[in-house]
Symmetry: C2
Subunit: 112 residues, 2 copies
Amino acid sequence: MAYTLSNNYEEEELVLSRFAKAMGHPARIAILKYLASLDACCFGDIHKELPIAKATVSQHLAELKDAGLIQGTIDPPKVNYCIDKENWAKAKVLFGALFDKVAAEDVDPKCC
Amino acid sequence: MAYTLSNNYEEEELVLSRFAKAMGHPARIAILKYLASLDACCFGDIHKELPIAKATVSQHLAELKDAGLIQGTIDPPKVNYCIDKENWAKAKVLFGALFDKVAAEDVDPKCC
DNA sequence: TTTGTTGTTCGTAAAATTACGAACTTATTT
DNA sequence: AAATAAGTTCGTAATTTTACGAACAACAAA
């Protein structure tokens, strides 16, 4: 990415947007939901859950891994993926803090 | 977007990924953080907070609006933006439910 | 050693994203 | 009526994303 002045964004904004971006595709949400309900599972099982080619699944997994949301370990001939619990906890806190910034009680559909 | 078989994703996955995608840029996180701390504010104030051209700010605001995370109302010659509290609450629930799917207690950095 | 299984990587094409300045719109003010 | 102010929209360029099939690598089994 090439932000003209990415220095002008706070570290927290960069981290949070990185997590959000990784979650910004239905296939990747499906993968995360699946892995979150399991302890770990291999590429093939994930692929079976999705309506896309394996090369594309691999690409999505790589993006989730690069963002830090999942981990992958080789267990020949398979590769096991699982949630990266440390970063998962970080993401949970960051999203939670943002969502909690808005007072929930006065949910007026047309505030402006 | 052109997903070969977007029917194969659950509605919830589509909605959640849509919110996440909208949050997948530091400028948009900065905007949301700013608006979440205020009741509402105009375009100009938002623009002042960001290191990008006004045309680009307008574009980012449009994306947040399309995703349903914010609302904008014209108050000539200004435009006031604010968090869409109804959808904000929905997003909070959806993200929360996903993050809570993973047991927090056993945060083992290398689970697989 | 050949075959099969499992996933990744490569090459590529189409579409989406991000960014900017310039032009335009809408309404107020002079 | 002209000028100003506030934002949006337009046109465009560079980059990134998404997707696929084909080729490849790593290992196990026949």
